[in-house]
Structures are given as structure tokens and as C-alpha cells.
């Protein structure tokens, strides 16, 4: 491992606006009357419901069990009654099944998981089972079940564990605060994950715009045999493939996974969830989310239970001072626009961002002027301009030839395009159409 990280090709430098919330310590959100826990919070199969209407549940009790290997169980965010198995607006805009829980105000823990204090001597398979039982998913945004990443298929050797603390997305400071305030848990989580993978060490990659977090981690991580690597500030530094390149110099080929270059990448928040699941027996029922943006009266970092409606979350933080024009779940680059305040916090909701009307510009998509800026900034070295034209003309076969499937949807191309072409949206469409065609062929 070199001391100086490599710089990946491309990338952009959007205004990071992190000062709004970077200095605000994480606060625990007070208990609400009602939580609406969205059923399907992970990539892969949805979990299977194990409670019914009227059931009494304790905090941390199982609400739904894993519906397959690539699926995770779901736990109650607080104690109370299952009021309904209903629908609630999902993050993609469509209504999705959700479990409504009326809190009893006691917030009493059930006795679902036993703490594993002596994790250093516990069988790695048991630790991995615990990660699964605790319902942990990738908390950086994708929501991919963590235990699946920790189960490389036979023949795949893992030699590097990377913890992703880059947090390159503008506005978001949830991981920053987490690394600062729970540095011990981050390092502990890294050590536990390393043990599951049969490794001795791990690397935490942090963008150098968080010097306090880097210093704090460096001080603590030594104890756990974990190193900290500061990374240059360049969006999307926190994208899995770019992070692997920066730290190890290995390039993940198109269509391949990090494990194909012997790496596993986990978000720092996932690592903390792993640490808590193992040593405290605590399932994944809450997360730190940054609530920020110009219209927010009091931007900050909050620990919300899963199932907290965004509307309530905004009330808790003191509301808004101007009518926001846009609501995004996640950051401004990759966050998903919402049309309803009824969406609830999920395991992968890293940020709630409100954008004021004077910060939003309405654009018309103009013809491409072939300036090549999108090609320059594309971290995956594909040709955004040409692919967007292929998709616009419904030539999905051509888009596939041009490797649209390699696109990580970071939005750098849309960010720099002087013709304001909605490039990223074209790629999302292209990827979905190609996947649909593949499914049809099967």
C-alpha cells in the first residue's frame, strides 16, 4: 500500500456545502407515535412478514424474516403494536408495502440477539450469521445485504478490506460525524469484518476534507490493526470502483465485482452496525441521517429509527423557513427526488436534502455540441454523449455496445454538460431497458 493514494480518472468538484451540518453532533431523534417501516429495504428478495395486525412487538423484535440468501430480516424500531400492514410511498415514488407500528412509549428492548463479547475467538461463520440476523445492509446508499458481500464464492480470494468513509457526496455529513463520534465502533466493526473474511487488517478511506475524522480514526485504529488512508477530494471518490483504485491501484473490470480484484468494500456506517450487532446484540433499526439544505432551519445530523416519516423528521429538526422546491433522499448528485413527504427513513437513507426555489434552475435539454466535457469527467471512461444519443433514439443495443451498463450513475456528466442534457436519466433508462430485455431472453 502506497502512502500516496492514486487519483482516478475524471471526476468533478461540486460545491460541497458540508459546513451547514458538519459541526453538528449527532442527536437522537425523540420517540414518535407511529413508524411506517418499509418492508423491502434491501437489494435482492423482499423479506417475508412474520407479524400480523394487532401483534405486540418489542424493540428489535423480528418483523419479517429474510426471503432468501440475498435478503435480510427486518426488526421493530420500537416497542408497540402492529397497527396495520399497509402501503406507504416508497423511495422510487411508487407505493410499497410497509408495516405500521404504534409506539407504546416504553421503547423496551426484546431479547432477540445475544451479545457476542468474545468475538475474537468466535467462529467467523457465526459472526457472519449474526450480521445476517441483524439485518445489516450497505448503508452508504445501495442497500446491498452485507452478509452477501462477506460470502465470497469458492475460489475467490479476498486480500483487502476497505471501509468507505469518503463521503464524497456534497451536503452529507452523517458518515463524517459517525467517524468522529464513534471512531472506536468504526475500527471495531472493521476488525470484526476482517475476521469474518479471514483478514488481519483493513483500510479506512476518508476524503481529506475531514481532517478531524482522519486524526481521530488514526489515533484509535492502530489498536485494531486498521490503517487510515486520506484520499484527495474528488467526486465520486466514494464510488466502490474508484475507491478501490485509489487505495490499491486495482481496476475492477466492467461487469465485474470488487471481489474479482480480491477486495471487499463496506461503508463505515455498515461497519458500526456490524460492531453493534456483534458486541451489543443490536439489530439494524436506526441510522444517522443528515437533514440539510438552505430551507432547513436547523440543519444537523440525527439518529432516526427506520420508519420515521420524512415529514416528522423535518418537524423534529425545527421545520423549514422557506417553501422548498425539491426534496431529495441522499445527496444532490445521486439522491432520488421525492414527491411525497410520506416516504420514511430506510436503512440506506444517508441524507434528507431540501433545495430552495432560488437554488433550482429549470433547463431545456439542448443538442449535444460534442465538447467532450462529459467524456473528460466520466470516472468509468465511457462516452456519455454518444450513449445519451443512442438511448434518446431508443437504440438500446447500441447503448449496450457502448457499455452503458458500466455507468455508476454518479451524475458527473450531467453536472458539467453545457447543453444541460439529462445524461444520467438517459443512462438509467438505458440500463433498465437492457436489463428488461435480458430478463425476457431468459
Amino acid at each position: 500500500m502506497s502512502d500516496k493514494p492514486r487519483k482516478f480518472k475524471g471526476g468533478v468538484h461540486p460545491k460541497d456545502s458540508k459546513t451547514l451540518s458538519a459541526s453538528k453532533p449527532v442527536q437522537d431523534a425523540p420517540l414518535l407515535d407511529t413508524y411506517k417501516v418499509i418492508m423491502h429495504q434491501n437489494i435482492g428478495a423482499p423479506p417475508e412478514l412474520v407479524v400480523k395486525k394487532g401483534d405486540l412487538v418489542k424493540k428489535g423484535d423480528l418483523l419479517a424474516k429474510a426471503g432468501g440468501f440475498v435478503s435480510v430480516p427486518l426488526h421493530a424500531p420500537t416497542s408497540g403494536t402492529v397497527k396495520a400492514i399497509d402501503k406507504c410511498p416508497g423511495p422510487t415514488g411508487m407505493s410499497v408495502p410497509a408495516i405500521e407500528i404504534t409506539a407504546d412509549g416504553e421503547d423496551e428492548w426484546g431479547d432477540a440477539l445475544e451479545p457476542i463479547v468474545d468475538w475474537k475467538t468466535t467462529d467467523p461463520a457465526d459472526l457472519k450469521q449474526r450480521v445476517w440476523d441483524a439485518g445489516i445492509v450497505g448503508m452508504g446508499g445501495a442497500g446491498f445485504p452485507t452478509h452477501v458481500k462477506l460470502s465470497p464464492p469458492d475460489g475467490k480470494v479476498i486480500d483487502t478490506l476497505i471501509l468507505n468513509g469518503a463521503e464524497c457526496e456534497p451536503y452529507l455529513t452523517a458518515d463524517h460525524r459517525l467517524m468522529l463520534e464513534q471512531a472506536e465502533d468504526v475500527a471495531l466493526g472493521a476488525a470484526i469484518i476482517a475476521r469474518i473474511l479471514g483478514l488481519k487488517t483493513a483500510v479506512i478511506g476518508v476524503e481529506e476534507n475531514k481532517p478531524d475524522a482522519i486524526a481521530k480514526l488514526q489515533e484509535i485504529a492502530v489498536k485494531y490493526n486498521v490503517t487510515v488512508q486520506s484520499l484527495p477530494v474528488n467526486y465520486p471518490q466514494g464510488a466502490e470502483k474508484q475507491l478501490i483504485y485509489a487505495i490499491t491501484g486495482r481496476e475492477v473490470p466492467i461487469g465485474k465485482l470488487p471481489m474479482d480484484v480480491n477486495c471487499v468494500v463496506q461503508n463505515v456506517a455498515s461497519a458500526v452496525a456490524v460492531a453493534e450487532a456483534v458486541v451489543k446484540g443490536r439489530p439494524s433499526i436506526d441510522r444517522i441521517t443528515t437533514v440539510t439544505g438552505k430551507p432547513v432551519v436547523n440543519p444537523g445530523n440525527w439518529r432516526f429509527r427506520i420508519g420515521t416519516p420524512i415529514e416528522k423528521a423535518l418537524e423534529l429538526v425545527g421545520g423549514v423557513n422557506t417553501q422548498p422546491a425539491k426534496l431529495l433522499l441522499g445527496g444532490p448528485m445521486m439522491g432520488i427526488a421525492q414527491k411525497s413527504l410520506g416516504v420514511t427513513v430506510m436503512k440506506n437513507t444517508s441524507g434528507i436534502l431540501l433545495v430552495a426555489a432560488d437554488e433550482v434552475s429549470l433547463y431545456t435539454s439542448e443538442p449535444c455540441i460534442r465538447c467532450g466535457r462529459c467524456v473528460e469527467v466520466c470516472p468509468m471512461s465511457i462516452l456519455p454523449a454518444t450513449i445519451s444519443q443512442a438511448v434518446e433514439n431508443k437504440r438500446f443495443d447500441w447503448a449496450e455496445e457502448l457499455n452503458v451498463m458500466a455507468c455508476i450513475e454518479c451524475g458527473s456528466c450531467s453536472y458539467v454538460c453545457p447543453s444541460h442534457r439529462p445524461l444520467n436519466q438517459h443512462f438509467k433508462r438505458g440500463k433498465i431497458e437492457i436489463q428488461a430485455q435480458l430478463r425476457k431472453k431468459k
Binding site: 415514488g93 411508487m94 407505493s95 422546491a325 421525492q338 436519466q425 438517459h426 438509467k428
Partner: protein
């Protein structure tokens, strides 16, 4: 003799020899073409819409002559065209019922709640952003993916809503797969009474986002008596296309949201979206 003359004579001789060879080969390896294929193709509409499932009209004509398809499988051809083809081939044409598309949504801009959307003007792309910028998760987005897919210009986008003109629709079904909300239903052309709503939500929820949604009040079910002309599916009423109602049902039931409409009148904008 000049060089030019030699060249001309040589080229001429070479041309003549090759011509004779080509002529002989063409005779020896002639491919027999069934001239009926051309005959059938001439009698087909020639729109190459692909509605039959073949690569185009020529491919379909080949299939018909090869008895792999029946003339009636062309969704576009009028009954007289089909009997014409059947007569030409000396086979018996099957009776076929003409079907037309219905976009089961009446939520135009004037009557629905919409968010501001600034992106690709195509339904299948727009649906990727928060499921489409319409308050109703199930309604027509109005960017016209179906109209683009229609080779016959039978779908009009009017005030943010796709409207089918039944007299232009030939039933090729190209629009059905284009709609990301699965709103388009193929129905018998003889039926004119349709419910222009496809949201399974509760009535009150629908009313919050759309003034012309079917709220499941069942007035039309009652007005149709005990005939089962209208079917109740949760909070949504559907026309029973197996046993369709008469056009006068629309007036008789006085639908409070005007979700129950006559397809022909809806096509010409007779409802205007005015809601009580």
C-alpha cells in the same frame, strides 16, 4: 490497332462471356418464388407495424401462404381486406372482432395534482424519477410514449393525457407495451363505455390527487341493474367487456367524477375535464 480499341473489344468479349455464364447459372439455380406471396402482400395494409408478430407485411404474407398464419391475424386489415385475401388464396376467412386501445386514465393537467418535472420528455424515462411527477401513481404521465409507438397516429396527447381516437386505432397493440404504467387495454371496438381510471387506491386517496378518478361509488353498477355490465374490483369499477353495457348507461348513471365515459366522446374532448 490502337490500344483503346483492343481494350473495348476485350471488355466486350469478357462481358458477353460472363453474361452467358450468368444467364445459365440463373436458369440452373433459379429459386421458385410463390407469386401468391406478392399477391397477398399487395392486399395487406402495408403498414409494417408488426402487430401480427411477424417482421412486417412481407414476412406475414409468406407465413399466410405457407399456412403458418391465418389472414385474420393481421390486426390492422379491415374485414373486407381479409376476406379479399382469403378469396385470393381460396381459403375461408375467419370472423374477427375489431379491437381498439383504451388509455384507462382521464387525469389531464387541469384535473390532477402534479409535481414540477424537468427531465427527459418520455414516459419510460420520466417514470424513473419518483415514479412520474403525477400525484397519482397509476395515472397517465402524458409524455406520449404510446403516441410515439403508434404507427397510425391514433393517439393524441391532449393537456397531458393520452387519448385514443377509436376510429383511427387499428388494434396493432404497439402502444400497450410502451406504457410504463400498463394503462392501455385492448377492448372490443363495439363497446363504447369505459372507466377512465386504473387506480386501485381508496376513493378518498384518489380524490386528493385527481378530480376525475373512479371513486368506486357504484352508481353505474346500480344503474346497470342486475346485468353485471359493470364489475367491482376493490375501489375500482371496470367495464365487463364480456357482457358490455349500452352507451346510455353513461347518462343514466351520472358518474359524479365523470370517470365513466363514452370512448368516442372522450376522444373529441366532450368531457373537458369538468367535474362536480
Amino acid at each position: 490497332m490502337s490500344i483503346a480499341l483492343i481494350a473495348i473489344i476485350a471488355a466486350g468479349v469478357l462481358g458477353a462471356v460472363l453474361g452467358v455464364i450468368i444467364g445459365m447459372v440463373a436458369k440452373a439455380f433459379a429459386v421458385e418464388v410463390d407469386e401468391r406471396i406478392e399477391g397477398v402482400e399487395e392486399r395487406l395494409p402495408g403498414a409494417n407495424c408488426g402487430g401480427c408478430g411477424f417482421a412486417g407485411c412481407a414476412d406475414f404474407a409468406k407465413a399466410v401462404v405457407g399456412e403458418r398464419a391465418k389472414p385474420g391475424e393481421c390486426p390492422v386489415a379491415a374485414p373486407e381486406d381479409i376476406s379479399n385475401i382469403a378469396e385470393y388464396l381460396g381459403i375461408v376467412a375467419e370472423e374477427k372482432e375489431k379491437r381498439v386501445a383504451v388509455v384507462r386514465c382521464s387525469g389531464d393537467c387541469a384535473n390532477t395534482v402534479r409535481s414540477l418535472y424537468n427531465g427527459v420528455c418520455d414516459c419510460r424515462s420520466a417514470v424513473l424519477v419518483a415514479g412520474g411527477a403525477k400525484g397519482c401513481d397509476y395515472g397517465c404521465l402524458g409524455f406520449g410514449s404510446c403516441a410515439d409507438a403508434c404507427p397510425f397516429g391514433a393517439i393524441e396527447i391532449r393537456d397531458g393525457l393520452a387519448v385514443v381516437h377509436p376510429e383511427l386505432c387499428v388494434g396493432c397493440e404497439n402502444c400497450v407495451a410502451a406504457c410504463p404504467k400498463d394503462l392501455i387495454l385492448m377492448v372490443p371496438a363495439a363497446v363504447d363505455v369505459h372507466v377512465y381510471c386504473n387506480s386501485p387506491e381508496k376513493g378518498a386517496v384518489k380524490r386528493q390527487v385527481c378530480r376525475t378518478a373512479c371513486i368506486g361509488c357504484r352508481k353505474c353498477v346500480k344503474a346497470s341493474g342486475e346485468e353485471d355490465h359493470m364489475l367491482v374490483d376493490g375501489f375500482l369499477i371496470k367495464t365487463n367487456y364480456e357482457n358490455p353495457p349500452q352507451p346510455d348507461l353513461v347518462e343514466a348513471s351520472a358518474c359524479p367524477t365523470s370517470a365513466l365515459r363514452l370512448g368516442t366522446k372522450h376522444a373529441v374532448g366532450a368531457y373537458g375535464g369538468a367535474s362536480k
